[in-house]
Symmetry: C2
Subunit: 596 residues, 2 copies
Amino acid sequence: MNRYTAPVRDMKFALYDVIGADKLYAKLGIEHAQRDLLDAVMEEAARFNETVLAPLNAVGDEHGCGFDKATGAVTTPPGYKEAYAQFVEGGWSALTAPEHLGGQDLPESFGAALKEMIDAACLSWGNYPLLSHGATEALKHHGEAWQQEVFLKPIISGQWTGTMCLTEPHCGSDLGLLKTKAEPQADGSYAVTGTKIFITGGEHDFTDNIVHLVLARLPDAPAGTKGISLFIVPKLRTARDGTVGERNAVRCGSIEHKMGIHGSATCVMNFDGAQGYLIGQPNKGLNAMFTMMNTARLAVGLQGLALIDRSYQNALAYSRDRLQGRSLSGAKNRDKPADPLIVHPDIRRMLLTCKSLAEGGRMLALHAATLVDVLERSKDEAERKDADTLLGFLTPIVKGMLTEWGNECAYHALQCFGGHGYVREWGMEQLARDARITTIYEGTTGIQALDLLGRKTMQLQGAGLQMFLKMIQEFCTEHAQDASLTEFVLPLAEVAKQWGELTMEVGKKAMANADEVGAASVDYLFYSGYVALAFWWAKAVAVAEAGDHPAGFKSAKRETARFYFARILPRTQAHAAVMRSGAGNLLGLDAALFDS
Amino acid sequence: MNRYTAPVRDMKFALYDVIGADKLYAKLGIEHAQRDLLDAVMEEAARFNETVLAPLNAVGDEHGCGFDKATGAVTTPPGYKEAYAQFVEGGWSALTAPEHLGGQDLPESFGAALKEMIDAACLSWGNYPLLSHGATEALKHHGEAWQQEVFLKPIISGQWTGTMCLTEPHCGSDLGLLKTKAEPQADGSYAVTGTKIFITGGEHDFTDNIVHLVLARLPDAPAGTKGISLFIVPKLRTARDGTVGERNAVRCGSIEHKMGIHGSATCVMNFDGAQGYLIGQPNKGLNAMFTMMNTARLAVGLQGLALIDRSYQNALAYSRDRLQGRSLSGAKNRDKPADPLIVHPDIRRMLLTCKSLAEGGRMLALHAATLVDVLERSKDEAERKDADTLLGFLTPIVKGMLTEWGNECAYHALQCFGGHGYVREWGMEQLARDARITTIYEGTTGIQALDLLGRKTMQLQGAGLQMFLKMIQEFCTEHAQDASLTEFVLPLAEVAKQWGELTMEVGKKAMANADEVGAASVDYLFYSGYVALAFWWAKAVAVAEAGDHPAGFKSAKRETARFYFARILPRTQAHAAVMRSGAGNLLGLDAALFDS
């Protein structure tokens, strides 16, 4: 019952009209990334996701993954494996990988749009290639040449998949606590021993080999995060010449029973002296891990976006079809016994919340993804450095806010269905259950917020923020005389100014008490997300008006922007007040008195 | 893994110290409602809920209800039936019913506290007595003497249960659309025919007979809500003299597969010329239905409250136990490898959100429940009328806000657990899934908001609001000179003033365009809820300080109130700004352009 149509038109609008990605591709010299090719690929991706993956979403939820305790084997839901074969056959796994590694070398930002489609079509299924993509990035940047040849190429071709093995039973956000050990062996490899939990795609039936990237400690490693190294541990023992042998000493011990994403196998992985190879330098594993993790964080942000859009599409269709009640301002549907839900202002409030966050979030996420392209391809070092700074600043916003909005919108969309939303057959409750993991994995919202405020803002003296504020300022200056945009430009300039002031205020307080960072961080993240979207919405209206679009499209952009500025942006004022209230009201209560 | 301890101390504080329910009981002449008896009953209720019901919560979720298509029989999860037998044996079903009908005649407000325990212990199980309670109220107020004798007494004793049959496939919020028919029979009974959906407890194995209260239309009934009558339709044919016969022509056709509350049977009920008896006057069924529904709405509000408290208790225990990361302001747990989660300000933010909404919500809900006692027992007509007005105003706030906060807090509490919150074994994801229905059934949040702003405020010229504002004003005046309360009294007076102003503003706009009501209503509901809780928190601090409580208890109340005023109350300002933005930004976009 739950449908999905890839929002191709809005993706093109965001990517090319608003962000100007096509011009960027030309500037970066990605010669084959021409609009006619990209458009054809996007249409084909839409077809694949709508017809192959989307029908698997309910199936995967219903069946979940099977686990055979005797062999440690995991069976994915019916159709998943076949869809993966089609995915590989279609070349989708190699879409954005470099040509010399067998990839098609298309831009990451273009790949991000296609990734949104995958996640909207079938989030659980999308987790398998997502993890491969993270492993690809880590091996591409930190792997030795033979490691790229032996392990990376088969991941890119889709012959094998990759995983990230970070979490252990006693350590999640706090990686300094991890205990998994890696003992050097005579042949230069390592014997990896330990237990990892919450390993997405740790075991499955898509491919015969799986390349685990595992954080572990060398015997002489310093304590904490400075003593962590990264290892390749293949499911099948794999020699340096690429010869694949017997099963390695790594095995899935069980899979989790979860609230949602039932088709995504979440594995306990037991390493028992498994053959592994060091990636990069000893004790520098977190560097490589961050490469993976930043890729994965943007990817999880896209999951949030995807869920907003699929939630919205279904709530919209239902709200147009379902007749219930009469408009308070007079019947709109006189020949029928009732009006459609969409006449009710409160239904429109929920729908427009989803619409404004989906389309706004798409611009936010795709813009961040273009910075990956600049970072990876620009020949100008200063430009690369700037892209890195701004990307670092935007990544926690993309991950943190799109996933929070994903949950909020799944909630609104379910609400539009009333009691039917709570019943499985409509598929809305699955979207809500699936969405719930996205604010947790790859770093909780709290972790994103600390990364944004502590690391990416205060430690860097606000460099990323300044760059984003400059974008806003330039836009406001450019359109200062445009009366048709005043309703957006003025409030945008105001919150941008306040964003800078709040950052200064929190920074000052934090110098006196480091807990002020943690006390302000989540509200700072939300505040930042809302201002960022205000910029993209203002820009979207300006671009739509100036472009060659149907009148209805222009009207939809303007009215949605109006809604956003009137009904979403004011949330910033609650977040500002809360941030300004300081840490005292969080720290005053003794931990022993919380149940008094 | 998921625990529950009844919050007896805070219930007593809210009910007696803050609200003064014991004095009210004396004033109303409920002679047997003495503190020593009530305290003993409350302790016994805590024991029953903690030991009998709480362990069934996970069981019910895992097993769900069984349905036998051949017979239409529903099997509740293991232990449910036995717990119901103990519930009846203990006299709990008759707790607040009148003595002449076999009840123990304890106050409804006292019963509300105990109901919170049931819902926190096992929400799904609690739905069966909840529906009986609704049917009890309808029959008590609108049933003829023989109907009370034959149908009501066995419901009160727990021998039978009751249901509310309102919704049909094509009509939920809009009851005017309902089609079920009732044909008069020669013997004065009616033959009821139609299909009802979403019928909680429509079929089960607790009791042999089930008393359905069914909305249906008489043959000559006017269209819309003015042509709806209410009927008793027993599962077993039951004569006027109480003789129970064969199966009536009513049968469960299927049960829903839902996101949560798996132990609560949600039935499609097919009536096929079933024997029924008219309750009250023809075509006046909605009056009796509103009696049931108001009772049920307060009860669902208590479900929200219960879920906040259980979520909070578990998140608190986990946050104290789980070691992860170091306090940013320096290690708090030097002898351990990490600090407990509760040192982190953002974890405290989530915990204190739950704590402040649980304890604040408890005062709000129990105060509303005392108005039921006044309404039912006061001998002063003016007092009864005032209680009715204020109760009518508060009911949508209790229902709407406590259930929204229930969802919010289940979300925060799950988040405190990180990835473990998403895994079934910890029980946190069940709380989140169970909570999701509460903002939908017995009227969605949107319906509550329209009831509050349209019916209970604007149609009554703000009578209920004025009464609540007067309570706030009196409190502020009383404590105007109390320096220790200034931090609460001043902002409370400010938002109370704004509450009145906003009401006037919206009212004026609505006279020009009725859609302004729908456009403002949900934000008005949230605004109202936050101001109401600010009042109760300010009062709680005043009462705690003045009373004979341990210093830790006083400190906990004050610090939690500080948190509430600093970090929750500012949300009002976003809601105020949104309300003031008017209906234009919701209505501007043509329905056909929502997917442009």
